[in-house]
Amino acid sequence: MDEMEAIKATFFQECEELLADLEVGLLAMQAGPADGETVNAVFRAVHSIKGGAGAFGFEGLVRFAHVFETLMDGLRSGKIEQSSDLVAALLRAADLLADLVEAARGGAEAEDDRTGAMAAELQVLIEGGESAGSMSAPAAGEAAGELDAPFSFQPLGASSPCEAEAPFTPLAVLPLDGPAGDAGPVAWSIAFRPRASLFHNGNEPALILRELERLGPATITLDASSVPPLASLDPEASWLSWEILLTASCEETEIREVFEFVDGDCDLSISRAGEDAPAEADTDAAFAALLASIQDPPAAAVDPDVAPPVMAPPVVAAPVSRPVVAKASTDPQVAAPQATIRVDPERIDRLIDLVGELVINQAMLAQRVMESGLSPSSAVSVGLDDLEQLTREIQESVMAIRAQPVKSVFQRMPRLVRETAAMTGKQVRLVTDGENTEVDKTVIERLAEPITHMIRNAIDHGLETPEARIAAGKNPEGMVRLAALHRGGRIVIEVADDGAGINRRKVLAIATDRDLVAADAQLSDEEIDNLIFLPGFSTATQVSDVSGRGVGMDVVRRSIQALGGRISIASRPGEGSTFTLSLPLTLAVLDGMVIDVAGHTMVAPLSAIVESLRPKPEDVRRLGPTGMVLAVRDTHVPLLDIGCVLGFRTEAPPASDRVVLLVEAEDGSRAALVADGIHGQRQVVIKSLEANYRQVPGIAAATILGDGRVALILDVDAVMTLRPPGASRAAESTLIAAE
């Protein structure tokens, strides 16, 4: 990767961290008046984003961050007072800033009315806050000036608000001669007399004079006449001055720039000496004279190309000890760097893959040993048991490296809540719990979407309007609680609201109306609540902008089940609803049932299996021309031969002398999948089919078994919908409804 691209990637990574810091800081401010360090941290986050954005020419981002920063600066200095309205505005500004960062990452600078309006709002807050004090703060004036400029994308370099130089390129080609210009050389007369303060800041006249020579040939004359006799010489004072005659094709500003750092620390006069410039100045001699004059004892002439040593002012206190850490204003323990290392995630993924190989290899070896007929008490078998134990421990430790707290997902939710609340006109408080609960990275990445959906749903459908809540004797502000915890080797996420609870009558009416259940079906409260997960069910009378872009909870359920997870709802009228979703802690391994299907070894995810049974011949019944159902206690479920569904065979052998897996799918519907045999349960390492091939219908992924062969992992949901030709959808829905 190009080095600048790498730094840009770092910038966006850093932005994510800064935006998270920003949000944490603002939320702390929301909770009550924050201390100076919190405000400072928020300021720094915005400031750093702005700094990086400027370097990459994200003009729109820089403009907006600048106004934001100015406001934070006002808060920091106490010119602007903290208020809840102000913090609310800052939170929205932070959201917008995140959007602008995202837009910049996408390559386009999204500039819209929203940005302009938000910037104007912040500007009002800046001016409102400062009108009480003085309006002299330069930052405020600057920001006000910038607002006149339209919020539109401008290429870098064109009227940048932050004096953008030419685009940053890593190539540093230095002009060693004076800049070429059309105008002929001009002779400049410069008088330069440093004051003592110039030396105190580490400036060095010789270097400034050397810089000046880069502009063109110069005659430098040292005036050392005011140097007192050595006995009375104060080494920290300034006794020297220079007259310089410079011939260069440059503007006065370029000369002034050389003296930029010593402005105020010297007497400086620059004037044109006249049109006739001296042809060639004896710079070497002049420079040698200069060096000789400031060196003690006097040294021989030095070539100007050789860097002169820094020696002014001469430090009288000769012994130079190693510097001691100066007393910092903060507790050193706080500042101690964290003992963490940064590792490329790809390396960890690779390590996890390798450990997966190790697990497979260990299983293969164990199988070979068993097949060889060695006694379980033989030294080899005992050694293998130890190996298995070790392998498992290594696997757990390695998985722990990749485990991350769910915080990264939870942190995105306050914003979602704010936006959804604003859109629905509801008042919402979000409470989070267990955000340090850890789960594998593969799962974290897949959590955001279902959680987003459930929270939107809780606000949109769960919580009442403030008026309705007041009427019900509740706090007008509703509460949504998002929690994470570990339970039984899985991660459990709960999204609870204190709203009205599910309106079961309405849900049942809709479900009946849409033929999702039979009109005379007798359903328990729990069954009614879970109807909302049925495909095509949506309680919103119109397709709501908020809860789902037209998709319902069935989509949430499907995506969770695709991960080997489960979702359920519990609701109490008037008190609210709780969605509970549980997921495996990792998507790298899976607990599965190893089965035989038409001569192939396959794996069915244990999470989908309710039970396995051997059907009695009288429980298997025909339905319609080709359909088969199985009576399981008092219900009938569709009976599907896995081999036929996947197309491995066309004719299914009788189910009664084989094995049935009773499985449950996305919509809570069940099916009986017929396999030819069961080999038992085991943990398998999940291997992607898509990495080298593509998705295969009915197959979730692959794994490698103890014999080294690839076995396919069933996608139970897909198998249930992949009906062999002939089975009608109508029969299917009747069956589900009758359940």
């Binding site: 720094r44 702005k50 700094g51 400027g54 800041n201 002014a312 510097p323 910092a328």
Partner: protein
């Protein structure tokens, strides 16, 4: 001999950009993530130039410069501060604290190296 430059900035992005430009220009670069870290680094290194940011946690640029200048070993060491805009107030404060000069962000490598040349042999 290569000159050594200490960069002190809490932003990884900015540290990386400085490193890229400075290494290309032939300097050796050492880094610190804030003022406290910077002082720590100075116990074991002797940079020829120090470039520091102003807004940093733990110990900001002003505090860092003051602490550096208090030590006689660093009295003459050039210190350049990074400022985001040409903010006269910040420059003045930095100079009062003992800064030698400043670099306005965003910087081009040329401007960066020019600023260093103006303060370091």
């Amino acid at each position: 001999m290569k000159q050594t430059i200490l960069t002190v900035d809490d932003s990884r992005t900015m540290r990386d950009m400085l490193r890229l430009a400075l290494v290309a220009a032939g300097y050796r670069v050492i880094e610190a993530i804030d003022g406290v870290d910077g002082l720590q680094v100075l116990t074991g290194e002797k940079p020829d130039v120090i470039i520091t940011d102003i807004n940093m946690p733990n110990l900001d640029g002003f505090g860092f410069i003051e602490a550096v200048r208090k030590d006689v070993a660093w009295r003459g060491t050039p210190i350049l501060v990074l400022t985001t805009e040409s903010d006269a107030e910040k420059k003045a404060r930095a100079r009062d604290a003992g800064a030698t000069g400043w670099i306005v962000k965003p910087f081009s490598p040329d401007k960066l190296v020019q600023a260093i040349r103006r303060v370091a042999a």
